[in-house]
Amino acid sequence: MPTVEMTFTPLPAHVRTARLVATAVARRSGVPEALLDEVRLAVGEACSRAVEVHQEHCPAEPVRVALTGAGDRFEVVVTNTAVGDDGMTWPPQPADGQDPAALPAELGLAVIAGLADDVQVSRNGDGLSIRMSWPSGPPAG
């Protein structure tokens, strides 16, 4: 069972809330302070992407985030239920190199890949799940 589970309406304004909750649970789960910025950014990227595909395909459905702090890893799973989310390539492909300011097609995924040392992307029912984890120590407080 996740330590904390949340669902939120797919609106950009709620992504910050998801980031703050994830960071708080990570800290409490014993994730080293030096890694908390990475958790915050990676969770934000995953949630931003989920909000984007939900707004396009299923704006009435909530985005799901499960945070699990048991054991020696802190795990985050961000799940979207967007049936039309079939265009994702994992691992993200680099830009073509012709234009120095060209960005990878899925910049958020490129950022996640650069931040979390353990990332898995899988089809989950109707949509996609992004599972990320970081090492954690003894739970704080």
């Binding site: 992504v15 910025d37 950014l41 931003s48 680099p94 960005l103 950022v111």
Partner: protein, 116 residues
């Protein structure tokens, strides 16, 4: 912390001071400001990110979009940033090679002037 945007002209260069969090919710406001500045004829821009607490890929996309707009007018968009947690996202995405990133506004302006 919301996003706070201010801008002023120094030595003919438009300096944009950004404070707070640039994410999927707030980035559109930065995008609008950069577009307004370019439409107003400001093609030499310095974005001061020293008070930015959070930056995600949406924010990066807005900065790259701004860079492309000013380059279309032979302009420039330089950044001021010394915070390691913000610089890290530029390194991960390879954008340190795309932007001039400086330690201070004065340094950014001086570097731009020396290239003229």
């Amino acid at each position: 912390m919301d996003l706070k945007l201010e801008h002023h002209t120094t030595d003919g260069i438009e300096v944009v001071d950004v404070e707070g969090e640039i994410d999927v919710y707030t980035a559109p406001r930065l995008r609008e400001l950069l577009i307004d500045l370019v439409n107003g004829g400001h093609y030499q821009l310095v974005v001061n990110m020293e008070k930015v607490e959070f930056l995600d890929s949406t924010g990066l996309g807005v900065l790259v979009g701004g860079l492309k707009r000013v380059r279309a007018h032979d302009g420039s968009l330089d950044l001021v940033c010394t915070q390691e947690r913000i610089l890290k996202i530029f390194r991960i995405t390879g954008l340190t090679k795309v932007f001039g990133i400086h330690d201070g506004v004065d340094e950014a302006i001086a570097a731009r002037k020396s290239e003229k």
